[in-house]
């Protein structure tokens, strides 16, 4: 019988047994030394660490003993903008849960304790931070180890995630691995080795973008009234080097892990079968400490089945949500219908048909975003011509086309800055002074800057080149085409998703538009 991870609010009262035991165990782990691989500090540092930041935030000082070099090698392993994002975090979560369970049992708790998850996508009430993490004290009046002062959200309490941030549109991604030039980004991210330097694609996969990255920024935020471009004003969840120090981090990632389980079981979806993924990364293995003092070395293939050993867990709800089919919705739109035409499910997706992405437009160089910002993207007549033909053919077929027309993607390249907590919504072709809320159909997606500081460090693995973010805008372009727009240019607007993001700023190397398929 596998361990069952349950949705935290389904467990009952705020201080249900599972949550209370979690708090107790976190408190015990915090009593352990930095040098102990099973301590709270060591486990958090496996995700990310920086001595200056941890010192400023009060987690260590000059006298704090550091682990030996062989143990230090386990720190800062976190995998982002890579196809290892999901398997690495699954192994990380497993090791953490195994250590926490050992403490729970040692303290007299249940032997079947399992890490709860936070399903913020469930309904409006679920978007509120679970209450046990917001209370300063436990029921007995002692300090609550789950409470983190450096958790700001958008500056208002209780911390509540905006509706779009919990979108599950990532589950509609057809393939796991990102395509050429990040087009499409794939559910799990681009193919990379462990150390994916500046020469390798650095785009977020679909589920990493949304909801993962966005939730990090929405929960961590920046201290109200301070400069969100300065690291010392940010919440723990806002930066990879501190995120693991917030106890809600683990429930967030359990939900992301659950989404992977759901995605893999959906019809037509499959994890990679490429040996480079299954047996990788070849350049450096993944390693996690366990409660018995050993180190667990693992590859992606060891974590694809959560019910198999050693993982041995499942989720209480692995039911795929009912989502409108991306292709069917698109074909219906092109056919001028509100609902999907009959047989739309048989339409062959461009993603499945293959083909190389083709640049059809770009901004005139760099774009600097500071608050609400507009940027014009010029489209190339030759590329747009074939796109128009493709769209017209599909529209003329009245939804009866056998193959999806060309897809269009907006690629935000080389995002650089220091405002890790910022979340911007990206709109296409809305009037300059319009209220974006009036144009939900023109929302391309959410751009979270989680991890941007690391990606912008000149001496770091990204060599200061930042990361890429890709949004599919096929539906928006379809609508523009049907409205008679000449598609000579696109007006892209970056709109801060909350008040905390308004003062943030960042740079973009180029905004590009790619076409996939004919």
């Amino acid at each position: 019988m596998p361990f069952v991870r349950k949705e935290i609010r389904s467990l009952g009262a705020t201080w249900n047994d599972t949550t209370l035991w979690y708090a107790t165990a976190v408190g015990k782990l915090k009593e352990r030394s930095f040098t102990d691989p099973t301590s709270w500090w060591f486990l958090a540092a496996i995700h990310g660490f920086h001595p200056v930041v941890w010192t400023e935030f009060g987690f260590m000082d000059d006298q704090t003993p550091m682990p030996t070099p062989d143990r230090l090698a386990l720190w800062s392993q976190c995998q982002h903008q890579t196809w290892y994002f999901l398997p690495w975090h699954r192994g990380y979560l497993y090791a953490f849960e195994e250590i926490v369970r050992s403490v729970v049992v040692a303290e007299g708790g249940p032997a079947d304790w399992a890490l709860p998850y936070w399903n913020y996508s469930k309904d409006a009430a679920a978007r509120v931070l679970p209450e046990a993490f917001a209370e300063a004290t436990l029921p007995d009046g002692s300090d609550n180890p789950l409470f983190v002062p450096r958790r700001y959200g958008d500056g208002t309490l209780p911390i509540t995630i905006p509706p779009f941030s919990v979108s599950l549109q990532a589950l509609n991604a057809s393939t796991y691995t990102g395509g050429d030039d990040d087009i499409p980004p794939g559910f799990g991210g681009p193919e990379t080795p462990f150390h994916h330097g500046p020469e390798i694609q650095t785009a977020n996969g679909a589920v990493e973008s949304l909801p993962h990255n966005v939730i990090h920024g929405d929960v961590g935020g920046a201290e109200p009234g301070t400069d969100p471009n300065q690291w010392f004003n940010l919440g723990l969840m806002s930066m990879p080097i501190t995120a693991g120090l917030d106890p809600i981090f683990w429930l967030h990632h359990a939900n992301i892990d659950r989404l992977w389980t759901i995605w893999s079981a959906m019809p037509g979806h499959a994890d990679p079968t490429d040996g480079d993924w299954l047996d990788g990364p070849a350049d450096r293995g993944f390693a996690m400490p366990l409660s018995d003092g050993t180190t667990w070395q693992f590859t992606a293939s060891a974590v694809t089945d959560t019910r198999a050993q050693p993982l041995d867990y499942c989720y209480d709800d692995e039911t795929p949500p009912v989502l409108p089919s991306r292709v069917a919705t698109r074909m219906a739109g092109l056919a001028g219908r509100a609902v999907a035409p009959a047989g739309a499910g048989a339409v062959r997706e461009v993603e499945m048909a293959g083909g190389d992405p083709e640049l059809i437009g770009a901004s005139d160089g760099e774009v600097r975003v500071a608050g609400r910002t507009r940027a014009e993207v010029k489209l190339d007549e030759a590329g747009v011509g074939t796109l128009r033909t493709s769209l017209a053919r599909a529209a003329a077929a009245g939804g009866g086309a056998a193959e999806e027309p060309a897809r269009v993607f907006l690629k935000v390249e080389g995002v650089r800055g220091t405002a890790d907590a910022a979340v911007y919504h990206v709109f296409v072709d809305i009037p300059p002074n319009a209220d974006p809320a009036d144009y939900p159909e023109r929302l391309a997606g959410a751009l979270s800057l989680f991890g941007v500081s690391d990606a912008s460090a000149a001496g770091g693995p990204h060599a200061g080149n930042g990361f890429n973010q890709v949004f599919e805008i096929s539906g928006i372009v379809d609508a523009l085409h049907l409205s008679g727009d000449d598609l000579a240019r696109l007006d892209v607007q970056f709109v801060p998703s909350n008040k905390a993001s308004e003062a943030s700023n960042f740079a973009i190397r180029r905004i590009s538009v790619f076409k996939l398929g004919e």
Partner: protein, 221 residues
């Protein structure tokens, strides 16, 4: 064709570069580096051997260009990239063969440069991706600027060693060794500048690679 007059070396180099004919190295002084016969062809071979190192940049440029302008973009990049190398090649061909003492001193300087923090700065800069516009002459200018920048960095990084290699016996193997060294260095991720031998030292820990300054002390501001 064999030209042994140093004054004609640039002309000889151009002829050789165009014809692919190897020329004799001009040796103005008797006994100095006698028997070494590197030439323009060797330099050209070296330049072509370095081309695979540009696979990353060319791939990025290819993807970043409109399909009908891809070849133009790559040509602009390659032409600009080659310029600094050709300039150094002409200088190498024109320069007189050094005395052994000067050769030894040059070798010491090359070793020192190979270990210098400023050189690590250049290596890190090789990883930077500039913005390349897609339309009009701006695309050519950006691709050319990227090529020139990359060529200048490569010349600064490997040019001294390559220059020295041309003055050594068995200069072709020596030049090949420099190319291999450059390829190995190019594959390494950026790291904080410091004095270190090439290809040595452990990779920086992630927190060492990102320099973060403590926040300003309010009492001092």
């Amino acid at each position: 064709m064999a030209l042994s007059d140093a004054r004609h070396a640039p002309v000889a180099a151009i002829v050789a570069l165009c014809s692919g004919t190897e020329i004799a190295w001009p040796v103005p002084g008797a006994g100095a580096a006698a028997g070494h016969r590197p030439g323009a062809l060797a330099w050209l071979i070296m330049l072509l051997a370095m081309a695979p190192l540009l696979r990353i940049e060319v791939g990025l440029l290819w993807a970043a260009a409109l399909p009908r302008r891809r070849l133009t973009a790559v040509a602009a990049f390659a032409g600009a990239y080659a310029a600094p190398w050709l300039a150094l090649g002409f200088a190498a061909l024109a320069a007189p063969a050094p005395a052994p003492v000067a050769l030894a001193a040059g070798g010491a300087l090359v070793v020192a440069w190979s270990c210098a923090p400023l050189r690590q700065h250049c290596l890190n800069a090789c990883h930077a991706r500039p913005s390349v516009r897609a339309f009009g002459p701006a695309m050519l200018a950006d691709a050319g600027r990227w090529g020139l920048r990359t060529g200048a960095l490569c010349t600064a990084l490997c040019g001294p060693a390559m220059f020295l290699a041309t003055r050594l016996p068995y200069h072709l193997p020596a030049m090949a060794a420099v190319v291999l060294l450059a390829a190995a260095e190019r594959r390494r991720p950026p790291r904080p500048p410091a004095w270190r031998l090439p290809l040595t030292g452990r990779p920086p820990l992630p927190w060492e690679a990102r320099i973060i300054s403590p926040p300003p002390n309010p009492a001092q501001t």
